[in-house]
Symmetry: D2
Subunit: 363 residues, 4 copies
């Protein structure tokens, strides 16, 4: 179903931007995992609006509460319900959108598909929907860390034309979180921040690239044919608002190589099987090979801008619209924890699926 993700660790999110609440149900979380709200809130805080001067000023505490699935501080193996109430919902900012469609936004398509839409703040297509993903992702991250030793890190590696030379295997969480743009290179981070401020002052917006790494994934996660690990990661990332492109390993750059230049040879390195290069991004034939998983996601500039643009109204008449409301001039910094969450959700699902593949010993 369209609002669910995953097979064995399955999440279902709900909620409109200006409805009563947003949240998530997690079905399939293994029992006996220590869990309370303090595992979830820090990730939501990385995602929440108003966290810095380069994000939307909408004020939401985004406080998560667990309504089911835990008992005495541990998971029960039953569905975990996590909900966040909507607070600072200024519907009046959106009155004009009731009858006019924002260019390059989902408004028009929702109206045509459903014959109805909640036009307040994007409704279901708002990035507030990702709160449920991030909450569930926090649990997935904890499972991956505790049971598999897997660590996931994402960072902003490019904003508009400003590109940061990041080394995913060496960057740290602290470096990434040390600047509001979440780029581990402090000088370039400063350039990015200043550029975003400048762009915002013009009422305009910019996009960029997020680079992500998952370290510690063992060989064997991912399924042949359709549920390849890179295919599920691609779907996870391309389901994010504003995502326009996905590439794993060398990605589009792979076409510059010949096969002999591109192949990752196997080598026994003191008992550990490695590939000295990692152009495959840790995945071959859809299955993790034990090297770090590496991929990149391109995000377009935010569609909602504070400039007047051509558009049509509900009756199909040509008109114009100038953006109002509170919006991010660049979605990248807040998208970092979302990319990490979707990565964690994809990986934990494949981790659980792999458990079913292993042959038991005959009696």
């Amino acid at each position: 179903m369209p609002n669910s993700f995953g097979h064995l660790f399955r999440i279902t999110t709900w909620g409109e931007s200006h409805g009563g609440s947003v949240g998530v149900i997690i079905d399939g979380c293994p029992p006996n995992l220590p869990l309370d709200e303090t595992d979830i809130q820090p990730e939501l805080d990385r995602r929440k609006p108003g966290q810095s001067h380069i994000t939307t000023p909408r004020k939401e505490s985004d406080t998560a509460k667990i309504y089911s699935g835990t008992f005495q501080g541990k998971t029960l193996g039953t569905p975990i319900c996590i909900m966040v109430m909507n607070e600072d919902a200024r519907s009046q900012d959106y009155q004009e959108m009731a009858s006019k469609f924002r260019p390059s936004h989902a408004d028009y398509c929702y109206q045509k598909k459903f014959g109805i839409r909640n036009w307040q703040g994007g409704g279901r297509s708002s990035a507030r929907e990702t709160i449920g993903r991030v909450a569930a992702g926090a649990i997935a991250k904890k499972l991956l860390r505790l049971y598999y030793g897997v660590e996931i890190l994402a960072c902003v590696s490019q904003v508009h034309h400003i590109c940061a030379p990041v080394d995913p295997e060496k960057m740290t969480f602290e470096q990434i979180e040390s600047t509001p743009i979440r780029c581990p290179n402090p000088e370039i981070a400063q350039d990015m921040i200043e550029h975003i401020r400048e762009i915002r002052s013009q009422g305009d917006s910019v996009g960029g690239i997020i680079t992500c790494i998952a370290k510690g994934v063992p060989c064997g996660w991912g399924e042949p044919v359709f549920d390849k690990l890179e295919a599920d990661l691609a779907k996870a990332m391309m389901s994010l608002p504003a995502a326009r492109g996905f590439e794993v390993g060398t990605g589009f750059d792979a076409i510059r190589y010949t096969g002999s230049q591109h192949n990752d040879v196997y080598r026994n390195d003191n008992g550990k099987i490695i590939t000295p290069t990692n152009r495959s991004g840790g995945i071959q034939g859809g299955i993790s090979n034990g090297m770090p998983i590496l991929f990149r996601v391109a995000f377009k500039p935010t569609a909602t801008i504070m400039m007047e643009q051509e558009t049509i109204d509900l009756e199909g008449h040509n008109t114009t619209l100038k953006g109002r409301g509170r919006h991010d001039p660049c979605v990248l910094p807040r998208a970092v924890p979302i990319v990490e969450a979707m990565t964690a959700l994809t990986l934990i699902d494949h981790a659980l699926r792999q458990k079913t593949n292993l042959p038991s010993a005959p009696l």
Copy 2:
């Protein structure tokens, strides 16, 4: 499940490269569609090996037979079984692969994941698996053409460093099929072919980019949140052997624009709602907007090359391996019908899903 794709038009493929057969079950094809083998064979012929001097010389007729699901030339609404027997399977070429892993190939990961693999010709990870996809895709294409007026075209737009300036909206099936490389620009096609020959003579391989367009898709296909149309297309494409990257509309190039430069404004053009530009690639908020769907897929150079490379054996010892067997020096030309098939399968599934979304009139 890993070998199935789609929700309402669901295919399940089976078969190893050198096993008894490869094939597909299609569950969910609507009844009363005129269908026999002549609808399927032409697409398989575009995919089959040995079709030109720049593909693998393996000789397979790839003759499809329908075993169920039709009656008196029409579909019944029951599962359609289509099977192709394997013929020219030279297992002896692969004897060395029984104990050594080909670099950047799925061999090692299958062995680690399953504890067993069919090492003859890639087994399940072989591109022969895509026969089932192409056969099912032929039916999806027919449904899309007959019931929705949708046409899908893919072409090779880049091979290694040779880039063809293709205009997806104007290129024709005849142009694409007029050269064995399936690039609609005849001069550049010739350059690509010569380059592939040269690369093959060195025992090496190259990758490239396939550009795809779907024309005639109405507004409203695609689901909010996780099953966005671009997310499902990304998964479909990234599940193809050798695919490394996917982008929709402007894709990675979107980051060069500001929002005001990138947005596609809506306009009523004599009663038809269009966007004069199509940087969104026909999809907004995960839902088709009525403009042509546009995307690109990057393929890496074929992993199997006729050169000696480092690798390890089953026991984990360092060794070397020189490729044998019959392989494509460049997968792109044969991947064109496969990309089209996966596009058709993704679109028909969303077309059927959209039927369930529409409100009936109350009694």
Copy 3:
């Protein structure tokens, strides 16, 4: 996933008996259906505890609130979240159950399966879980009534040895609701009520049979082979707490007939195709045939009784346990709206699936 039901109208429930809340997400409800809490509360009131002197005295208002998926009184086509807070949770009644397993109850199996359980009031295995089913079922019922003219009625036709001769096609909602036992025959209803009081006074419990009818289902709902309408109804009913048996049409009684006695012949009755008899219960080959859907569900006596019984404790030692807490001496009257809800959820799912089967006209 274990906590979801349905394919196109999919519900996911959450919540433990004594956790924070119980609720349901509905994914796949068509847009533009008029909906608010007043559509849901009456069904929950039929299910809630304390509604009569023959049900558990636990006091819960079971007030439903919609948190998403509607806008200005209509459904959006996005997930509908409905939640009920737990109020009268007396955990202290269950302290003994923390270390002892109630006979014929889920406690022991949950403990062995998950290694943990919420032992307060049954936790996830409590019938409180069905609140989510009934809330979602209320929406399914409304869709079936408004868009398809389908009416669903269930009643108690047997309690212990007291059997009521009910005619499902003639009974009315008012007759059923006129007694707290929900048996449409007032005299026998009174016998049932007195018998339940007597059984309760002994600290014991009884079971019985619920008979259900769905009128107005058109021919064509249900899918061949595995998703037969009777198979999905059987799963729906056998997923209810305490359900032990399911039969459609003549059911187990069918074995008393020969084929010539049992077959339902077709007849054109003034332009309407009917079967003068309905031993098939309105379903043939898994697909509705246009006659009323008829089935029966057997429920065992409530497992929790106020008498001392043998059992084991957490360490596996033999011990005894006497039930405490507040329980229904007979689940039947409160199960009536639950059976109706599961019937509605099964039917609406197949109604939506049938929409995808119908061939569109070619362009």
Copy 4:
């Protein structure tokens, strides 16, 4: 999808009674299971027509061939394709059914649902479809036996009014297979056989009951809420042609007891946790409790009889039809291996699901 069953051990069947072939794809079979056709054929032989004088005389060798998913005598973890060609298809027997609907058969519903049907021998609704189930079930049985020590046995316990007092825990495979009716009581078996012959000579048919036991199932299989073990077994059984009722443990008989009479108390019996009685049929709260799984399935008399009956034709006119073709006067004996197969498929799926529920030890 309608033609698939199971989540982690998922089968998809195809084929019409008089089409090219019938078969099954198994997706999710663990790797390294020794498997070839000799594991499958014996089960198909128990199901095949013409095996005795009380079954249909249609002559089909029903020879199974494995087309994929195995290598050197072991499963690969990839999809297993098994196919049986249709041989003795006498379409001419069915010419009259092209325009007339057999009473109590699926013909009419298929025609209304799909607007088309293969009227030769029941098409997709024929019991030939169950060949795929039995082939897949043979693999499931082998997995259950080898990896879990689970044994499944079904028998005919009633035919029409002739009831056999069977003790499921004591009956043996040899007893059951010693008579063509598959009733372990030889005297009553003889009565049943003679009764079926008599009924057949009248051109009529009879139904009956199959009793099934699964011994050795550990505590913990089955999922809370919707995917309860008894719910999935009910769906599995009620998806069989002619099945009309399902009951687990005491089933409908449960209503004769009070709670204190019906409850299965737990007892530590020399270190093994048992319930001295097994009225629950080995399942509590949807989860196996370690006792034998016990259930019964009611089958109606075969709908196709050799007597003239009222019916309608394609145009809806009243007419009459006398059965032709080759049919079983009683489906029970051939249904025994089918019931076992569906039981095995349900159990292995839950066995694999349970593996994902178990908490790993933290690193």
